[in-house]
């Protein structure tokens, strides 16, 4: 049925384009005609089996050898109407299941939007959020094949210049279909200016409601599961509907900024992986469906001048698991987005251990301090502390770097990171044989502009740890020849391997393994092509606070990115 709707939408879209005689092929036409714009992205992976790094026992390594993903976005705007469509293709792809192979193709997304003055209407796939996303956020993360767009309709109404109302309803997208449960919600967002003209106090308050109505199938699923529960574990009754409320406000006054959001979730049945379930034979096992209310409070306070910038954040989350079907696990069916409380690291080793947001129990704090010590010298210090509400340590990070810029000739960044990472919790590894990971990682990043067009960048990092795979050293050399070429060579070496970690397959445990990457990137206007030979160790891949464990990779990657 979805396919039929998709084809029909394409037809309508094509018809609209044909109907507008002054439409341009690509780009905006100043004469008042339509504009066609879009983007294309494709990744092709050639898999090379390598038992030495554990790149085995996946269909792509064992027999398929090749996999590809592609997305083509086409949008068309004519006066008040905008329409868009996205073609998705996955051929033996490892994006959906990093340990498996997924093949399908079709229309992954489409929409039509019309601006009727005070009222904006959108039908089809909707990407939007309420507040900071704590009760609702529909967005796309391609590295994780995450796209939880709402398939339905949305209305935005301008009540006045400063107050806007939003309402939406639909079902959550999943691959080329949708989940059954219905999601609906709305919000009211405003803007109030107080204070004097010289020193205004700006407020952006908002209130949102989101509700999920379980489908009959999900309801039957719950009945079927919960009727097996005995004694104190039993849940006698539950509702079809679940409601989430969020009250938020952003305040700006001079150099200060303050954001606060508090959200409440009405009692809902969800899987608590830490709750114990008593089986009929008396065995007690972890993981039980419970019916509890939930809450999240998040706040961020910032102060910025030309010399310094300070941001302090705090978050408390309890039982805030909100999915389109509460029996789904891992990254499936999630409706909301709880902001992560850690620095988004970019260097290879400083980003190796990244904590995923915990929606059952989390108490987290983060501080970020930026300072200009001199005209050429600046610095940054960041800390994160993440615990469970009961006080169990999950994550600690202390990160600092200084940046020195010498004219336009060279630039040096140097710093260090210290981490504590509860690997058993974040990666679901057994507590019996998984130690908390503690790391110290000094690093530098040096950029030298040889000429106005040519540059060389060198990165070096050393991660000292006795846990997980042991200590690593990483180096990268990147040569830029503007405006088209960039060449890179990097290597990650397990310099002091951990010989006792039973989580690592025996065949590669304790081995000093070198993971090289060689690559070339060619850019030409809005088009970018990259070709890389990659060997990559198993690790957690995070994107926007959403993480998953990825197996080792060995092979060649070719990527094309284009916008028009």
């Amino acid at each position: 049925m979805m396919r039929i709707i998709s084809i029909y939408t394409c037809f309508i879209l094509g018809f609209c384009m044909w109907l507008t005689p002054t439409s341009t092929a690509v780009g905006q036409d100043d004469s008042g005609g339509g504009a066609l714009y879009g983007a294309f992205q494709s990744n092709a992976n050639f898999f090379i089996r390598d038992e030495n790094i554990g790149a085995v026992n996946i269909p792509q390594y064992d027999n398929q050898k090749f996999g590809a993903d592609a997305w083509l976005n086409l949008n068309y705007k004519y006066k008040a109407i905008t329409a868009g469509v996205r073609y998705d293709m996955f051929n033996n792809s490892n994006l959906f299941d990093p340990n498996g192979s997924y093949t399908d193709q079709g229309i992954g997304m489409f929409f039509a939007e019309i601006d009727l003055g005070k009222l904006d209407l959108r039908a089809g796939h909707i990407y939007d959020q309420v507040g900071s996303g704590i009760i609702f956020r529909a967005y796309e993360l391609r590295p994780l094949l995450w796209d939880n767009a709402l398939f339905g309709v949305k209305l935005d109404y301008e009540l006045s210049e400063n107050w806007k109302l939003k309402a939406f309803t639909g079902r959550q997208r999943f691959l080329f279909g949708t989940y059954d449960s219905v999601i609906k919600g709305g919000s009211i967002d405003g803007y109030i200016q107080l204070g004097s003209e010289e020193m205004p106090l700006n407020l952006s308050p908002g209130f949102g409601i989101v509700s999920r109505t379980n489908s009959e199938a999900v309801t039957e699923k719950f009945v079927s599961i919960l009727r097996n529960y005995i004694g104190e574990d039993r849940i006698e009754k539950f509702g079809y509907n679940n409601y989430l409320f969020s009250l938020y406000n952003s305040l700006d006054y001079g150099n200060f900024g303050w954001y606060i959001e508090g959200a409440y979730k009405s009692p809902d049945v969800f899987l608590d992986p830490f709750a114990e379930l008593t089986q009929i034979n008396g065995t007690v096992t972890p993981g039980r469906f419970v019916r509890e209310a939930g809450s999240t409070i998040y706040t961020s306070l910032s102060y910025a001048t030309r010399k310094i910038g300070v941001t302090l954040e705090a978050k408390r989350t309890q039982n805030f698991n909100f999915r389109t079907d509460q029996t789904l696990t891992l990254n499936r069916g999630i409706i909301n987005f709880i902001p992560p409380m850690m620095r988004q690291n970019t260097y290879r080793l400083t980003s190796r251990y990244a904590p995923a947001t915990q929606d059952i129990s989390e108490l987290a704090f983060q501080g970020d301090f930026r300072y200009n010590l001199a005209k050429k010298l600046s610095g940054l210090t960041n800390f994160s502390v993440i615990n469970t509400i009961d006080g169990d340590a999950l994550y600690r990070e202390l990160y600092t770097h200084i940046l020195y810029k010498y004219k336009r000739k060279w630039r040096l960044t140097a710093g260090a990171q210290m981490q504590f990472y509860n690997q058993a919790v974040y990666e679901g590894k057994p507590t019996t044989k998984t130690d908390d990971v503690m790391t110290i990682t000094p690093f530098f990043d040096f950029l030298y502009n040889i000429t106005r067009r040519n540059s060389i960048r060198v990165e070096g990092q050393y991660m000292s740890t006795e846990q997980d795979y042991g200590s690593w050293v990483y180096a990268l050399v990147e040569v830029g020849i503007a405006p088209h070429w960039q060449f890179e060579a990097s290597g990650m070496y397990n310099i002091i391997p951990n010989e006792t970690n039973e989580n690592i397959p025996e065949a590669i445990r304790g081995n000093q393994i070198f993971y090289p990457t060689l690559g070339a990137v060619y850019s030409e206007g809005p088009n970018r092509y990259s070709l890389r030979y990659v060997k990559q160790v198993e690790g957690v891949v995070c994107s926007g606070g959403v993480c998953r464990l990825e197996p080792a990779f060995s092979g060649v990657k070719f990527e094309v990115n284009s916008t028009f």
Partner: protein, 278 residues
């Protein structure tokens, strides 16, 4: 501003409507002649797998003979721990582990090899397995299976006859297949657990080998409603290595099931289990 107030009140009203709650009844076995196959993807190095074992114990207690379970120790997390005496891995299990993808992690279970809403053939949350069993039991019953075994204690030869009694016609285009598994119970050996290593863990319904190919043998003929068809198989129970408490005839069951093999469709039609020594 008045409009704002109305809309705001409407939103509150919209979210505060009282609803009739769903009552959760006590467990009741669905009336059905179907027997559901539960293939558990497990492993002795899988710390979460005892949760799957407990879930299957609960399912057995509730559903009795309506469910036939088999434990598949393939590749992932199935390698022996240092405390293990035995290695349960075998080629058939490894092949089935791949055949029953996609799954997200272990333990996972395929219920009658039906692909569920999440596009997964094997479900990695033991808490929801019973739901899919109910769904399968409520489907149309299309085939009866009878299993006859004859075990010779001296030669350890085992003759197996599977009688298929279709309750509707199946053409040869339906690609009905038959699979026969040999499973063993009551094997005491180590099992990884989240908080400790369980050294004396009782492993049940462990897939030891298959008499047919891992993906089943094609029936290769039309099946006519109410017309029984017999398929014969034979297998010799291996002698265990000295000191091993494996291949114990008293602990061995035969599992047979019929299933469709047509593209992505792998649906199991009916399953049956029998001990070789009653």
């Amino acid at each position: 501003m008045k409009n704002t107030l109305y809309l705001f009140v409407a939103m509150i009203m919209f979210s505060s409507c009282e609803e009739q709650l769903v009552m959760v009844p006590e467990f009741e076995l669905p009336a059905s002649d179907r027997v559901v196959l539960l293939e558990e993807l497990t492993g002795v190095s899988c710390p979460n797998c005892p949760v799957g074992t407990a879930a299957i114990d609960q399912i057995k207690a509730n559903y009795g003979k309506a469910v036939v379970a088999v434990g598949i120790h393939g590749n992932f997390l199935s390698w022996p721990t240092p405390e293990n005496k035995y290695d349960f891995r075998n080629e058939d299990a490894a092949e089935l582990e791949e055949y029953l993808r996609p799954w997200q992690g272990k333990p996972a279970a395929s219920i009658n090899r039906i692909k569920h809403t999440d596009d997964e053939l094997s479900i990695s949350t033991p808490a929801v397995w019973s739901n899919y069993i109910d769904a399968e039991l409520n489907k149309e019953h299309v085939m009866n299976l009878l299993l006859t075994t004859n075990y010779n204690e001296e030669t350890r030869d085992l003759d197996i006859t599977v009688t298929m009694i279709p309750l509707k016609d199946f053409s040869s285009d339906d690609n009905v297949h038959i699979s026969v598994m040999i499973v063993e119970n009551k094997i005491i050996d180590a099992q990884e657990d989240n908080s400790t290593i369980l050294k004396e863990f009782e492993h049940n319904h462990v897939l030891r080998t298959m008499v047919t190919s891992a993906k089943g043998n094609p029936v290769q003929q039309e099946l006519v409603e109410n017309t029984p068809i017999n398929k014969d198989f034979s297998f010799t129970i291996p002698l265990p290595e000295e000191g091993d408490l494996l291949w114990v005839p008293e602990n061995i069951d035969v599992i047979a099931f019929t299933h469709i093999v047509e593209g992505d469709t792998k649906d199991v039609l009916q399953a049956v289990k029998k001990k070789i020594i009653e």
